[in-house]
């Protein structure tokens, strides 16, 4: 049997590769970055919502399952540059430091993932200009390493705000969809801050809180046990105040029906999830349709969310839309099973 190509080494791809190997199928696992674990590893995610489990406890077992499987041929810093269909399966050209050239594969799992929205595109929030405006993907690393001090002056902030839906639900940047994670992750970050530094006041500016399903517990806990404060309204702009010492968030408290200009020591932007560059490239490479949002679209999103509709190409994880790690892992398993069935013929 020719190997199954798994494109992408994040949670979905690792899960698919490990599952295929456990079924006895040879796997060719390809990742363009120089590490396994995708975005969670890249940004050093701290605790994972909603159960507050350290990201390492989720990623490390996945990575070691993959590394411990002799059936998985792994390549980091490697991309697929060309694809040709065969009567059964594909011929793919790999480019990387360890391996280059054409390989035959029996089927393909695309687990090419997402990119965080580039918060600089919301210029009115001053990200990239004001050092204490921080993207929440970077804040993950800051919490993880317990360095909550302000980049501008190294002082511990007294008051932090989170702004939800930065680059999500926003036609101005062309991203009208919801990222699904921003609420839970921001609230989780506020809880982590309160756990480590109860003296820091934490505020979340929101339009809706979408801690869906059982994740609601995290939202309730953040209020009941950690005193995280919620202000309904979207910050309209962030400026510097007090000679650059603090940030000024201009918004409307929509419950009060009044404009507000509130100083903060640090403002964290919950940047949305966009189709990853790898996902866009894969769509072109394999000639797959994308939805209006730019994510890959399963043929039957209800009945079979892991099948692309193109024979032998299967989809998993955030390549098809914003997704939590458990969902990505589950889809990796589903895609693995379908790819295995296809490979066996």
């Amino acid at each position: 049997m020719n190997p199954v190509l798994v494109l992408g080494g994040g949670p979905a791809g690792l899960s698919a590769a490990a599952e295929l190997a456990s079924l006895g199928a040879p796997v060719l696992l390809v990742e363009k970055e120089e590490y396994w674990g995708g975005n969670p590893r890249r940004w050093h995610y701290s605790l994972l919502a909603p159960d507050l489990l350290p990201a390492e406890e989720v990623l490390n077992p996945l990575v070691s399952r993959v590394e411990g499987a002799p059936l998985i041929e792994r390549h980091l810093r490697t991309t697929v540059s060309r694809v040709e269909p065969l009567s059964s399966g594909f011929r793919v050209e790999l480019k990387g430091p360890e391996t280059s050239g054409w390989r035959e594969v029996s089927s393909v799992v695309l687990a090419t993932g997402f990119d965080h929205f580039d918060s600089r595109r919301k210029y009115e929030y001053g990200y990239g200009r004001y050092p204490d405006v921080i993207d929440f993907k970077e804040f993950e690393g800051m919490i993880h390493d317990d360095r909550l001090t302000r980049p501008s002056d190294g002082a511990l902030p007294k008051r932090i705000a989170w702004l939800l839906c930065v680059g999500s639900r926003d036609v101005q940047v062309g991203n009208p969809w919801c990222c699904r994670m921003g609420c839970a992750v921001s609230i989780k970050q506020a809880v982590e801050v309160r756990q480590k530094h109860p003296e820091i006041d934490t505020y979340v500016y929101y339009m809706d809180i979408r801690t869906y399903g059982l994740w609601e517990d995290l939202y309730w806990k953040s209020m009941n046990e950690y005193g995280v404060k919620f202000i309904r309204g979207r910050i309209g702009q962030i400026t510097q105040a007090e000679g650059g010492k603090r940030l000024l968030a201009t918004g409307e408290d929509t419950i009060l029906s009044r404009p507000t200009e509130v100083p903060f020591d640090m403002i964290v932007l919950a940047s949305g999830m966009e189709p990853g560059t790898g996902t866009k490239e894969a769509a072109q490479l394999f000639g797959l349709p994308v939805g209006p949002e730019g994510f890959l679209t399963p043929k039957l999103s209800d009945l079979n969310p892991v099948e692309s509709g193109h024979p032998g190409i299967f989809l998993a994880g955030a390549a098809t839309g914003p997704k939590a790690i458990p969902d990505a892992v589950t889809e990796g398993m589903g895609a693995a099973l379908r790819a295995y069935k296809h490979a066996r013929g």
């Binding site: 809180i209 919620f230 419950i255 009060l256 200009e261 509130v262």
Partner: protein, 243 residues
């Protein structure tokens, strides 16, 4: 910001003829309207309320409005300004000036407890609202209501001789309020109440034994109780007034 349309100004002062040190300054004063921009958040109110036995559940509120929707004061009686959901929000985020506007209204709760029964997040709304009211009362944020003043007159009257003097209470409260009924009318009413046994002039009829020793004890207890209730108040709003 000065505005031209004077009828829009709250607290406008208008005088036909006003002289200050011989200079005519008649006309409209106080024509600036204050900025509506809220500029800071202060958690000292919610911190205090949370620390009270009645206020412990305040953090849970997420502003759904279930309490206000079923509130017999707000919805059935139609007292629009009595909005428990809003009181909680103002306290949660420390909007003290806006909250102070409701310092009188906040006490209009009749404790039917429908809100507590219905709250999906387990906020003891009735208790929390009373706790917010207590905060406003202790900080002297609001002027005393007639009911507050009556309570004070009542307490003073009772403490004086250890037994209530209803005729005396009526006299002092009425005088304190700056309102007086014509003497003839008062006498007629008082006589009728006396004859039908509905007016008790305690000190004339009965005495409380040992009141001279009991009274200092009670007074000390009351002042210690007040001090205890005030001790955790945020420093930002110095306690003043009170019963």
């Amino acid at each position: 910001m000065p505005i031209v349309e004077k009828s829009l100004v709250e607290g406008l002062e208008r005088s036909e003829s006003l002289q200050v040190e011989g200079i005519d300054v008649s006309g409209d004063w106080n024509t600036f309207i204050a900025s509506r921009v809220h500029t800071d958040l202060d958690l000292s109110i919610v911190d205090w309320v949370r620390g009270q036995p009645q206020g412990a559940t305040i953090d849970r509120c997420w502003q759904c409005g279930t309490c206000t929707a079923g509130c017999c004061m707000h919805t059935d009686y139609g007292l629009e300004e009595f909005n428990p959901r809003y009181f909680i929000y103002l306290a949660q985020l420390g909007y003290d000036k806006e909250l102070a506007r409701y310092a009188q209204t906040v006490w209009r709760c009749v404790s039917c407890n429908k809100c507590v029964e219905r709250c999906p997040k387990g906020v003891k709304v009735e208790e929390v609202v009373h706790s917010i009211g207590t905060y406003l009362e202790l900080t002297g944020t609001a002027p005393k209501s007639p009911a507050d003043r009556f309570d004070e007159a009542y307490t003073r009257n009772l403490l004086a001789r250890g037994i209530l003097d209803e005729a005396g209470l009526f006299q002092t409260f009425e005088a304190g309020e700056g309102r007086t009924l014509p003497t003839g009318e008062k006498l007629r009413m008082g006589l009728r109440l006396l004859l039908t046994g509905r007016l008790h002039t305690g000190p004339l009829a009965k005495r409380t034994r040992g009141w001279g020793r009991l009274r200092p004890v009670l007074e000390r207890m009351l002042s210690e109780d007040l001090a205890r209730r005030r001790q955790d108040l945020p420093a930002r709003l110095p306690p003043k007034g009170g019963p």
